[in-house]
Symmetry: C2
Subunit: 266 residues, 2 copies
Amino acid sequence: MLTFIGLGLYDERSITIEGRDALRGADRAFMERYTSRLSGADRGTLEAEHGIEIETRDRAGVERDPEAILSAAEGGNVAFLTAGDPMISTTHVDLRLRAADRGIGTRIVHGTTAEAAASSLTGLQNYRFGPATTLPFPYAHRADGLPASVTNTLDDNRDRGLHTLVYLDIKVGEDPAGEEADREEYMTADVAAGLLSAEYGDVLGVVVARAGSPEPRVEAAALSELADREFGDPLHLLVVPGDLHQLESEALRTFADAPTEPTEPV
Amino acid sequence: MLTFIGLGLYDERSITIEGRDALRGADRAFMERYTSRLSGADRGTLEAEHGIEIETRDRAGVERDPEAILSAAEGGNVAFLTAGDPMISTTHVDLRLRAADRGIGTRIVHGTTAEAAASSLTGLQNYRFGPATTLPFPYAHRADGLPASVTNTLDDNRDRGLHTLVYLDIKVGEDPAGEEADREEYMTADVAAGLLSAEYGDVLGVVVARAGSPEPRVEAAALSELADREFGDPLHLLVVPGDLHQLESEALRTFADAPTEPTEPV
């Protein structure tokens, strides 16, 4: 049995009780650290909290070489851990399909998501978000300007008056064979706002830093202005609101120190 | 202090450890039962699990008369409980703003959401969902045919190739002064598929029943066909996929018994 468990947003206490019980009952536990991570707890903290040894896997160790995980799941209860919800990333759907192909039962224990937090903490209504997008590091994008995947999503959503959640790029041990196996790089919201400012400088943005932590930071201002601020430790998210309803404007002014003018309700 | 705590999707173990600790540390706990509910646990189970008395509130008891909650939060630690994530519903943003107006500190402890589960359990990619919509009971809609709010969202999303999560109407004790104070009504997915079939009969739908439970049920078929099936106890969700990528088609065939033809990748 292969149980995909979402660790939630921040630390060792962000997991659900159901997830904790499933983890504690596992024979072996693997954790991936390339689609997201807990910023408030490391592997040692998780191991101590849950009394189980946790083996980390980089992208290649899951996608190109899933054999260790699958054969363990054929013979026992295996927990596969991911920050957030375990199936938000495409790559884990692939792992689940491989398991099913081999007749291994799978189960999903959901975790809290950045998406829900982005809506919850800002007061922007969940049903008024369009599709999300991910802003890559410029060196990963390998071209000038903003990627079309980002501008198309932002423009389409804005045309429909919808909010856009912008995930910020994460690079963790992308080159495990090389010198950069231990590299961890998280795009911060000021950098993201700076990149977006090239085309959307006057547009209102909302930064959500450390969602799910005891003291998340939420700040709304023009993107060009957010580019000059600092928001502390990762992980950061950026939301680009579409049209604002009155309650949303009020929430942004109250909980995100939004300036009055750009958040007037439509 | 007013702490909004998400109970997650299904039962008393769907809450995060952080949420459990916040609930156990509260002086008083209120729970609303009108925007969603746990289908696997009642109030008594929650009280026994967490060792705290929980007072339930209907819509009027929160929206029209929040005084009891706010004055308790002025003098102590109050937990306000909601199934799913605590801020998915607009109405709770309003309560948080009222608290802030009175100088009461607020905190949000996130919960797992139907939205994440709908993506996770179906294998449909989260970043390819457009805005969600809610399908009301025909008697609540008070007009013939499907509401424009539903068809516009579905049509706009389908035009963009995006998936749509359709929340199904819930009516709980809507008329607390009258005879229907204890009425609970949950639209089931077969009824929803039947209503949608009027305009989208040949379109592929995916039912997710009892998301977050140990044995969720996920079935994909034409909406007109789903209308003739039964999916057991609530809560149910319905997803109307847009264009399908290959991995999504494969996931629907493997995990939702989708027929081959309508799920060919684009």
